[in-house]
């Protein structure tokens, strides 16, 4: 097949690869269903965790720091906060990754943005975790 669209781009296609080789190169993530599952599992976890956190805000709004620290130091609240932080930031970096892979088509920009999003997610998650643990102990 060799034709030109509006005379500006050569559309010659060389089908010298096997169907298996072609399909292996397809897909923005170049990987299987692990990403998909990670997004779903964290989504399911975030439904009750987010609702718990939203309801907690009513109790926390207006509290000063010592009162908040006392609330966060309860083992149940500490564990739920840690679960919320882990699920939120894992879900967030998986979701933002897909948005970048879908819409940023320049390889260098895409790679840079992906690294940046992953790095920011890890740093924010660690900042939240250390803070929750510091309040707890």
């Amino acid at each position: 097949m060799s034709e030109t669209t509006k005379g500006r781009r050569d559309l010659r296609v060389e089908m010298m690869r096997s169907q298996l080789g072609r399909v292996r190169g397809l897909g923005s993530a170049k990987s299987g269903v692990h990403h998909w599952w990670g997004e779903r599992v964290t989504a399911i976890a975030l439904v009750p965790l987010t609702l718990w956190f939203i309801l907690s805000i009513y109790r926390l709004a207006g509290l000063d720091q010592p009162a908040l620290a006392h609330w966060a130091a309860s083992p149940v609240h500490t564990v739920l906060l840690i679960c919320l932080v882990l699920a939120t930031f894992h879900h967030m970096q998986l979701g933002l990754q897909v948005v970048i892979e879908d819409y940023v088509h320049t390889e260098a920009t895409r790679f840079t943005l992906l690294l940046l999003v992953k790095a920011i997610s890890v740093v924010l998650a660690l900042a939240c975790l250390v803070s929750v643990l510091k309040l707890a102990f």
């Binding site: 034709e3 030109t4 669209t5 781009r9 050569d10 559309l11 010659r12 296609v13 060389e14 089908m15 690869r17 072609r22 190169g25 397809l26 779903r40 989504a43 399911i44 975030l46 439904v47 987010t50 939203i54 009513y58 709004a61 207006g62 000063d64 720091q65 010592p66 908040l68 620290a69 966060a72 906060l81 932080v85 939120t88 930031f89 967030m92 979701g95 933002l96 948005v99 879908d102 819409y103 088509h105 924010l124 900042a127 939240c128 250390v130 803070s131 929750v132 510091k134 309040l135």
Partner: protein, 145 residues
């Protein structure tokens, strides 16, 4: 053609000429007419990005709480300022939308609600649910505080 994958984006139009297929999200408006489903789909991503930005406030809030009473008083004052309340309102609406539409997506993953009338019904339920939850949450907030 630099990439073999681009071959899949070439098609013939009704006049038989070779054209390149448009890529998402540049299909809305030009190639596709407006639909509730496509609007809700892109809104899911936009609200996901908004909630991601909102995690900055969650981080600031937790770090300040673990730092000092003064730092915590600063973040509390910011959240009560008009700008802080505006951000919180936007993030709460985004979070409720992403939460409800996320449940809609999980149902689809389970093979539930795929018929077009059901897709439209659940779409409207998400829109109405977002408005109701956001209004309720802020009404409760004003009543409690």
């Amino acid at each position: 053609m630099p990439d073999i994958r681009d071959a899949l984006l070439v098609t013939r139009n009704t006049e038989g000429k070779l054209v390149q297929r448009p890529l998402s999200p540049f299909m809305l408006g030009s190639a596709y007419r407006f639909q509730l489903t496509s609007l809700l789909s892109i809104l899911h991503r936009l609200t996901g990005i908004a909630v991601s930005v909102g995690t900055l406030l969650l981080t600031w809030w937790l770090v300040a709480a673990a730092t000092s009473p003064e730092a915590y008083a600063t973040v509390s004052a910011f959240m009560r300022s008009w700008f802080g309340l505006l951000l919180l309102f936007g993030w709460s609406a985004s979070l409720f939308y992403h939460l409800l539409n996320g449940i809609r997506h999980l149902a689809w993953d389970g093979g539930i609600g795929f018929d077009l009338p059901q897709v439209h019904a659940s779409g409207w339920a998400v829109v109405i649910g977002t408005v109701v939850l956001t209004v309720l949450a802020w009404a409760a907030g004003i009543a409690v505080l």
